[in-house]
């Protein structure tokens, strides 16, 4: 049905068409057998168009590549199709800079289209979707449907634009369909068909504004280009955002920007810089094409405005963290007081009231409000005196003091500040100004709280970082599975003990503990069970050793026990304790249900050992002996001199 409607539009003769060169280019490329020379000749006839084509051909950031200087160069770089579409796009722009529709803002239309074009090109480059130069034209022409409809039906379209419901694309599209039985996206797609643009691009234009249509896209190329256009549209909106933009638009923009940033894979800083480049490109192109541009708001500013807008819409409630302030309102005029109280309650705060300065002072000392709002002129104790009295009290320094003043009291403002007043509200007060002043006070509070919190945190973190360093050390020295010290630590510790034993001339012994039949456990019951067995073994060992004995995991199923200041006899007793404890400890896990046993080798450091490695070796030999003798036993290494005696 749209095709029939479109035929009608075409029949009006008022659809935008590329003039002169653009039309020539179209005609040439519609032929089967056209040559690049024909194309080059046609475009070169228009120097302005040529210039723009070359500008675009050289936009891509390729270092060390000779710039394109002729149309043929551009054709080689971009491809003939892209060149044709670029020529088309630019000639449309120059021919339809203005039009017949009264309410249609042609300047703004092309300004936005250009921004979208530049953004689309940059996104295409970044995401490697499509040909960047083509993405440019796609962005430029995506909205051409609106211009087309406005050209064919200027009065009707003006009426639509005047409709207050026409706030955003989807709404406008609905109004268009109601009036013309076709909307601008569909029109644009059909126009692009006339101009020979490829199907995925046309489809992308048709669907890019509608979430529903995008979701049903069947072709990946289409979907990618549609997404590209959607992102580019957000950026175009950012470029055109100004002080007139409504609060809700800022929040929508900020959210949209986050989506784009995510899609492009940037962090905040990179994205800011990238957007800056897009904005600069837009300005440059604007100059070239005589399209107005403006200074683009920075990302920070947009986010700031969005936050402000969110805070403003939440104004009836207290601040976003749900902080209700306690506010003391003081005024001798009952009527004013009632109004002030109502405003504050409506803003979501807890309100206390007082009729004069003295009453206010008493209440403040009792309930410690965050903020005091007081009228200046009051009998007995006026606002300034109240403020001075409060400030004299140490805790009264922190209260945020707002003074209500009449317009004619403004010259005495200095006197007020000298008394310690924080800020003013002029009566009769504008509720928004009152709220702004309150927010100020609130922020001051939060800042003070944060500072207090920070000093508290600093002390805490100093303690913590000491602990953290110790923890980090421990992690490097701990065996993950069993929680015991690991081999690395054991080596270090043994070295330390060895040196100490030498220096102090104290005995030093080690036990090497080897779990009996562990491989069989793994084979028969699985490694998970094996892990549990090891963990329980480790726990038994570390639970049985005494203060001067240190257990570490030495290897797969091996453990090392360092017995400080212990002779072989003493170490052997320790070893026996361990053997008995393990043999009595029943381990149940999965299919395993039994007691494990260990073979323990004991060795004492003696003068025949050059280093502690020798000590370890002797303990190892002892384990071997214990295994050979039947397992589940302790074997003590015989010192050299004893061995010599034996063999003698």
């Amino acid at each position: 049905m749209q095709h029939e409607t479109f035929d009608e539009l075409r029949a009006s003769g008022r659809l935008p068409t590329p003039p002169g060169v653009g039309m020539a280019v179209l005609k040439i490329t519609q032929r089967e057998d056209f040559s690049t020379e024909d194309l080059s000749r046609a475009i070169s006839a228009d120097p302005a168009l040529t210039g723009r084509l070359l500008q675009i051909a050289n936009s891509a950031t390729h270092a060390g590549v000779r710039p394109a200087t002729t149309v043929a160069d551009a054709a080689m770089r971009l491809g003939v199709r892209a060149v044709r579409n670029v020529a088309l796009g630019f000639s449309l722009l120059s021919a339809h800079r203005n039009g017949a529709c009264a309410r249609f803002d042609y300047d703004r239309f092309w300004s936005a289209s250009l921004a979208r074009a530049v953004a689309a090109r940059a996104i295409s480059e970044r995401l490697r979707v499509g040909v960047p130069a083509e993405a440019y034209i796609l962005g430029l022409l995506a909205d051409i449907g609106r211009l087309a409809l406005a050209s064919v039906h200027p009065e009707e379209y003006a009426r639509i634009l005047g409709d207050e419901r026409a706030r955003e694309p989807m709404a406008i599209a609905a109004l268009e369909r109601a009036s013309f039985e076709i909307d601008h996206s569909e029109t644009a797609a059909l126009l692009m068909d006339d101009w020979g643009l490829p199907r995925p691009l046309r489809e992308a234009v048709r669907i890019h504004e509608s979430e529903e249509r995008r979701v049903n896209a069947t072709c990946a190329d289409t979907a990618n280009h549609a997404k590209l256009l959607a992102h580019a549209s957000v950026l175009a909106e950012v470029c055109l955002a100004g002080d007139a933009t409504a609060g809700t638009s800022w929040t929508r923009l900020a959210a949209g920007l986050d989506v784009v940033r995510d899609a492009l894979g940037f962090d905040r800083a990179e994205f800011g810089a990238w957007c800056g480049r897009v904005a600069a490109e837009w300005t440059e192109w604007g100059r070239l094409l005589h399209v107005p541009t403006q200074k683009v708001k920075s990302l920070q500013e947009i986010h700031a405005r969005a936050e402000e807008a969110m805070a403003a819409t939440a104004a009836p409630q207290a601040s976003q963290r749900g902080e209700r302030l306690r506010i003391l309102a003081v005024d001798d005029d009952q009527l004013s007081l009632r109004l002030l109280q109502r405003e504050l309650v409506r803003a979501g705060h807890e309100v206390l009231i007082a009729r004069d300065g003295a009453e206010a002072l008493a209440m403040a000392l009792e309930s410690w409000p965050h903020i005091v709002i007081a009228d200046w002129m009051m009998p007995e104790m006026d606002g300034l005196e109240l403020c001075r009295s409060l400030r004299r009290i140490p805790d009264g320094q922190g209260i945020y003091f707002l003074l209500l003043t009449g317009r004619d009291e403004e010259e005495r403002v200095i006197e007020a500040f000298d008394s310690g007043v924080d800020d003013f509200v002029v009566k009769p007060f504008n509720p928004r100004i009152l709220r702004a002043r309150l927010r100020c006070g609130e922020r001051l509070f939060q800042k003070r709280e944060q500072e207090e919190q920070r000093t508290r945190n600093e002390t805490r973190s100093r303690v913590q970082s000491g602990r953290r360093m110790r923890d980090a050390n421990r992690r490097a020295n701990t065996d993950e599975l069993t929680g015991l010290y690991n081999r690395r630590w054991a080596m270090e510790e043994l070295r330390r003990e060895w040196d100490k034993a030498l220096e102090l001339d104290e005995p030093l012994s080690v036990l090497v503990v080897d779990a009996d039949g562990f491989k069989k456990v793994n084979d028969q019951h699985g490694h998970d069970v094996g892990d549990v067995v090891l963990k329980e073994l480790a726990a038994t060992l570390s639970g049985t050793v005494r203060a001067d004995e240190e257990v570490a995991r030495w290897g797969g199923e091996e453990f090392l026990v360092i017995c400080r200041n212990a002779t072989a006899e003493q170490a052997a007793i320790c070893a026996e304790r361990l053997r008995a404890a393990v043999a009595q400890h029943r381990i149940r896990s999965g299919t395993f249900d039994a007691c494990m046993t260990i073979s323990v080798g004991v060795a004492q450091a003696d003068s025949s050992m050059a280093t502690f490695d020798a000590l370890l070796k002797r303990a190892d030999d002892a384990v071997y002996a214990a295994k050979a003798a039947g397992r589940d036993r302790v074997a003590v290494d015989k010192p050299r001199d004893d061995r010599a005696k034996e063999s003698a």
Binding site: D333, R342, P379, G406
Partner: protein, 131 residues
């Protein structure tokens, strides 16, 4: 209200012409909102009690020559008149305040006469409001 311009958006040259600024009244209605729909009535009622008291204070202050007291009363009445949209009354009070500060007693007296007369119109306008 025949012959009186109770709508503040009408011609308003000269402070004494405007009796009640209806935008202020609308604002008060909105301030009450849904949780305090009686706010407007409450405020107007407060004013209808308070204003005569202030005017009486001004009378007494003039009689006793206590210009400070007069200044204070005029200041307060100015403020509350602004709050209910009695802009004409507020203007009168403002001028009274200034003159009292400058000790121009005779000037104050003239304004006070005007004030009493104006008060009757203000009162009538306020009582005829459909809150």
């Amino acid at each position: 209200m025949q012959g009186h311009d109770t709508n503040g958006s009408g011609a308003r040259d000269g402070a004494a012409d405007a009796v009640i600024d209806m935008q202020v009244i609308a604002g008060l209605r909105e301030l009450g909102g849904e949780d305090e729909p009686g706010l407007l009535v409450e405020i107007v009622a407060l004013y209808l009690v308070d204003a005569p008291r202030r005017l009486h204070e001004i009378d007494q202050a003039l009689a006793s020559g206590d210009l400070k007291a007069l200044e204070r009363a005029a200041h307060t009445l100015k403020s509350s008149s602004q709050n209910v949209g009695a802009t004409g009354m507020a203007q009168l009070c403002k001028r009274m305040e200034e003159l009292a500060r400058r000790s121009e007693v005779s000037g104050v007296r003239v304004l006070q006469d005007e004030g009493s007369r104006h008060w009757r119109e203000v009162e009538r306008a306020l009582r005829s409001l459909d809150a």
